[in-house]
Subunit: 439 residues, 4 copies
């Protein structure tokens, strides 16, 4: 397609326009890659798997596929493509997630009630949107392109976010089934040795955190601003299953002194005794993974813990969780590498021993709970219009998580990236890194 | 198959045995017919339609297909077929409905969380059970056959019951979808004239009601016993949509004086303003049917009303609902004919004018609410073992309905048949026939 | 007062009028007695005890005192007494229980939110109503008296019903308090011997049941009508605590085969392991009574069991509960005597051994669950107007109880009396009498 | 008592000891004053008023009176007074609020189920504790005094907190009553002119906030630490009812764009249309106050708004809420004066015009919502033992409020004082001060 596009457009364009063509081609290519990855993730599933909503927080796989297309249709194609005819007149009702400014929407908790459009029809809807997006990349006027390019980029980041939710929602759905179905078979043996935990110190001072510059970032990552930090120490690696089992054995879930009051209520009301997806059989702990039910590996990072559990563990361990500013400052010079979704491991991995020279596991594996309530940065302003509902309106009763997980795309993450969930949520790949005040 | 069976068995058998072979063949044939009809009902559906449980009262289509097979596997194949190997070791956990005596079971309200086995695998499960049942019909010892024949018959009646639930559950599920999908296109125009309502009188006296004899009946239909009835009059036909709309226009849903106290609470809590599946658009009433959303036909029997609505309507109309004894006495000499599922109309039909010589619409169209609480007949004893859980344990806070509906098999109904639902349920094809005390 | 009334009125009256005067005097006297008994029941309580509503089914003591006065104010004084000025303009909103026809009312479940009027003010309200009622008895025109006399009688029966609820609600409220407060100290030792259970047989036939005649009865007790009964046998006495403990020891609360399906759900959801108010301490069973916490007496009738428990016990015992018709037929020639509230024992009593010639404990002690769903008798018509809301609108999902309890007035009960509660209720004094089909 | 104490002790003491005696006398005096004020607040109430718990967040007045005594009994008398015999062995179960370390406790939501001990018995319990505390002040060994003095001070601050809750809980309880009872008659006319709103600017820089030094403060107020603040502007006064009504008229409660997502859900689920206690009658707004139902005064500070409403109002007004650090920095040099509970006005007051030279209404009137999630300050450590449960365990999903209210004691407040409530709570005296980023 790229060639075809070039053939048609190139002769007609000035130099500045040429760079726009190249840019459009780059984004069209990026669009195809990211959209294709969504479908690749869906391949191991049957139509039946794609319909179920296993809890109000989760969405059916089919809905993720449709909603991400709806996003492009609503925010790019309708305003940006002359004569665009909606693929399905009901899509804007059925596949709107929460954008009040766009109109009424299907109740979130009832997304699993909708058998039609079928999975096949949903793929057709995607194809129609993709075809129209190809037209948009090729034919949008220069003004439109300038205006809507940021929304295209947002839409792609949005789709990557839904790819992560797709995996965590599918995991939750499969976990309801006593047959413990396998999404993807595990790729092999994991190291069992555990690297000793060390502490890395950081000085007090005024630091700048937050996003700045031309590259894409969500609005909640900026503006870049100054914060004052006391000196602190950060753990060299994530907390492991083995360490977490020690906490459990020491009465972690029975002793209120470790817990926030709301957390203690959750322990009781929800009968929490271990991380989500763990179950005990004949005295041994197993956990349900996207590769089926497996014996808990003590050297893997602990995963699927709530903020309450992360906080309780830290208190038990004589430490605390980092603030998001501390985390961001500590991550400043680290490579953006780790166990991301591109690895297709779909589960956190034990740290390979020997890499002790620097902070490890800061990116990938599991999102790291911080003790920072999700709040606007100083002088934060949400974007205008419906897009402005993306982040700001959720800034209440949620906690920030940093670093991405084994279900996150490496091309999606940033040092300044602020993920956020309510403190009782556990179905994302969420884990624990310890911090303490420096002496 | 019949021929093959005869060839093998006939030469070896005495006369008495011969009659058993013929009987087995008849039941094997009946088995195939009824089992095939379940699958025929499923044909218009996609895999996606078969997974969803739209409310705790309903079950996914896939579950109905599996559960009816599980019934034969559990109550016939395991005890009755030597060396029978279960098709799926989890089936007895996943597809048990409520038989405590058989063991633990998957939580009813979570039947919609189970994507696997898929629809295709479920069909394979049915095939395996059917193949084993064929063996059973052919090879069971005479003693086993004698012992288990009643359970085979029960299993077939059980499957017919689930065929009805299959249709009402699918209707409820499709109704959740704003796209109003069509299950089966409607077959044509309906008469619009309404036959005037007349009253048929019955004398006081001691009557016998309930099942007696060799033919199959559920245990709750017997023993046959005597009741004393005052003289009464029964309406010649069902209440129509048009009559019900009069009740609505007269403030039916706003005036507490017509309602039982619990019914009035439901009206408020559930915001009832019309029968289930009705909605008003621009002043006109439409109802969702298995043929999609249609304008309400005033001459059709009103349908999808709760006991509370039936009772309130009757009070408004200066009448009452019949007792089940009155209904059964009145039906004594009527032919077992009507708009049943075999018609594939899947909706009640207006009465064809002119058939005024007798009580009309007593069978088929809609189940008729009676004012009789569902209770054991005198000297009722449930069957031994798990089968005994079929009826007796539900005899509380439910009301009896009589006559079958457009989703019931004609071969399944009897004059003595006692259907029962809680008084707030509306998703079955339920309607109203009036009664009054005779002067 | 009687004398004063006579002095004024007598000289002016004809013979017929004289009999009306005597009748008014009798009813005025009856009014004073019953009203005084309400206040006597309240004496052991502090103001604090009278405010609390310990569950939505119960009402604060203060509310009972006010509501019974509101009844006379609304249905007698306002229509019947010229120039009557309401004691409190808010009373009709606050103290209406459920009469939709009288106007809006305070939400039932929030009766315990109302601290004012205080207990003292409530007594003043009663006094004002009583004074006005005295005027009514003295001065109402003859026509008014004729018209409203039935309502006065209803009002007095209504107050007696609330006296019973007063006691059961107070018991429930005190039971919430870990201090186990005593309402009235127990009067002494009880016999511990248990009279052996015998069976009394009754013939099949057509019987008439229900109220007939001039004496007061609630509308739900009539009309008298014929029923056909099979022969049956009734147990000579109530089931005892000791017998019920045998059921418990035999896994009564752990074995689903004894239970109705709804009952089994309650056992699980509510964690029932014993009758209401029972608790186990060091292996022994204690029960909370209006005389405080006491060791369970095995010879006392078991009490505070739901319909579900009564039904399960009966099934375990190889028997069943009686129908209300059976109970009424069996009670036909028995004296209306027993352990009623006039005894001020406030708890069921063991049967005194030796009285074996007849059915014992049919009246008083505990209300006896029947297997009859609460339904209208043939040709039942509720009264006109608000008074018609008294009974008929509750005829759904409730079961009839017969015979009165230790909290019922002896002057209130009748053989035809139909009490009714939902099958999961336990806070009334409810117990078990067994029946079985006769051979 | 002071004199008696001096007479006994003075001759025996060294100079250092003398200062301890004087100190004990001062605290004994302070103890008497604060304890007496609790009882003074209770005077306008009847026993009936003191029993009711109108929602799980609130407690009965009687419970407040008992719990504050239990605090002294548990944390001072039991450890500190030789041979102390508990006034009531059940008190530690009934009157423990949430101290897991002290043992099991009565369920918070069921505090309104407990009629005994009565109000009079509760006063007797207070007297016994007070008498024992007098002994403690007089006779505790010097070591014990040193050790427990901080707990006495904490206990007095604790009692002052409960005095505030006492008033807000009583207000909530009285508001349930359609009679709108009056707690204290209003003292007179209020000014109706509104002072124009101005903005006070503050520079960027590193500031220190938090408590430091010997005087009492709650553990959550420290340690004092540095924060970096951008320049900002703070509104000269609170938002008024009149301004809030403008927001309402502009569709404040109907336009999602002003609201946090959780707030918008609350608006819908709770049907919020105005602040708590407001109701519209014939087009005019009234609000229920401790002086009864009154027409809303447009010049009064708006009150009983949730964080969600405060935040939405600020967004509508083009401003935001301050952080707690901004608030504390801005309050640095202001006198600790305002409309506190000592005024016995029990309601916020309009600003008296003319006092425009400085920030007004920073203390008293209403607690001011900040946008700061309630979190530990850097290096915060909770106290050892049960007392450590006072603050830290609530640091989740709550927002900080500053400045005290018309129900707070002036002797209780500090610039560093951190009050905190969940963002949906409205029953405290909570209001709004605006902030914005400086240009």
């Amino acid at each position: 397609m790229k060639t075809a596009l070039q053939e048609i457009i190139t002769p007609l364009l000035s130099l500045k326009e040429l760079s726009s063509v190249a840019e459009r081609q780059r984004w069209a290519e990026r669009y195809r890659e990211i959209r294709a990855f969504s479908e690749e993730l869906c391949k191991p599933l049957h139509a039946e798997d794609c319909v179920i909503q296993s809890m109000p927080d989760a969405s059916p796989a089919k809905w993720h596929l449709a909603h991400t297309s709806w996003f492009f249709e609503t925010f790019i194609l309708r305003p940006g493509l002359a004569n665009y005819r909606e693929a399905d007149p009901h899509s804007s009702y059925l596949f709107n997630s929460y954008y009040n400014a766009v109109g009424p929407m299907h109740c979130r908790a009832r997304r699993g009630m909708i058998s039609r459009p079928t999975l096949e029809e949903t793929y057709r809807y995607r194809e129609q949107v993709d075809a129209a997006m190809t037209s948009f990349f090729e034919r949008a006027t220069e003004d439109r392109w300038r205006e809507l390019k940021p929304v295209v980029v947002l839409g792609l980041n949005h789709e990557q976010q839904h790819q992560e939710l797709f995996l965590t929602d599918i995991k939750h759905m499969l976990a309801q089934n006593p047959l413990c179905p396998v999404y993807a078979h595990a790729s092999g043996e994991e190291p069992s040795a555990v690297t000793p935990l060390r502490w890395f110190g950081f000085d007090e001072g005024i630091y700048s955190i937050g996003h700045e510059g031309e590259d894409f970032a969500f609005d909640n990552e900026g503006p870049r601003h100054r914060v004052f930090l006391d000196k602190f120490e950060l753990a060299s690696r994530l907390v492991t299953n083995g360490e977490y089992i020690e906490f459990m054995k020491d009465g972690g879930y029975e002793r209120p002194e470790f817990w926030l009051s709301l957390g203690w209520s959750m322990v009781h009301d929800q009968k929490w005794r271990a991380p989500l997806y763990w179950e005990q059989r004949d005295g041994d702990w197993f956990n349900f993974t996207l590769s089926g039910l497996r014996r808990v590996n003590p050297s893997e990072p602990v995963c699927h813990v709530s903020y309450f559990e992360a906080d309780a563990y830290a208190r038990w361990a004589g430490a605390r969780l980092p603030t998001e500013a501390e985390w961001e400052v500590a991550s400043a010079n680290l490579p953006l590498a780790g166990n991301f979704v591109e690895e297709k491991h779909f589960h956190p991995r034990p740290l390979i021993p020997g890499r002790s020279g620097e902070l490890a596991q800061m990116f990938g594996d599991v999102w790291e709970w911080t003790r920072s309530s999700y709040a606007p940065y100083p002088r934060y302003e949400p974007a205008e219009g419906a897009i402005g509902e993306y982040n700001g309106k959720f800034m209440c009763n949620q906690y920030v998580l940093r670093g991405g997980s084994c279900a996150t795309s490496q091309t999606h993450i940033r040092r300044t990236y602020r993920n956020f969930f309510a403190p009782d949520k556990r179905w994302q790949f969420m884990g624990i890194r310890l911090t303490k005040a420096a002496l």
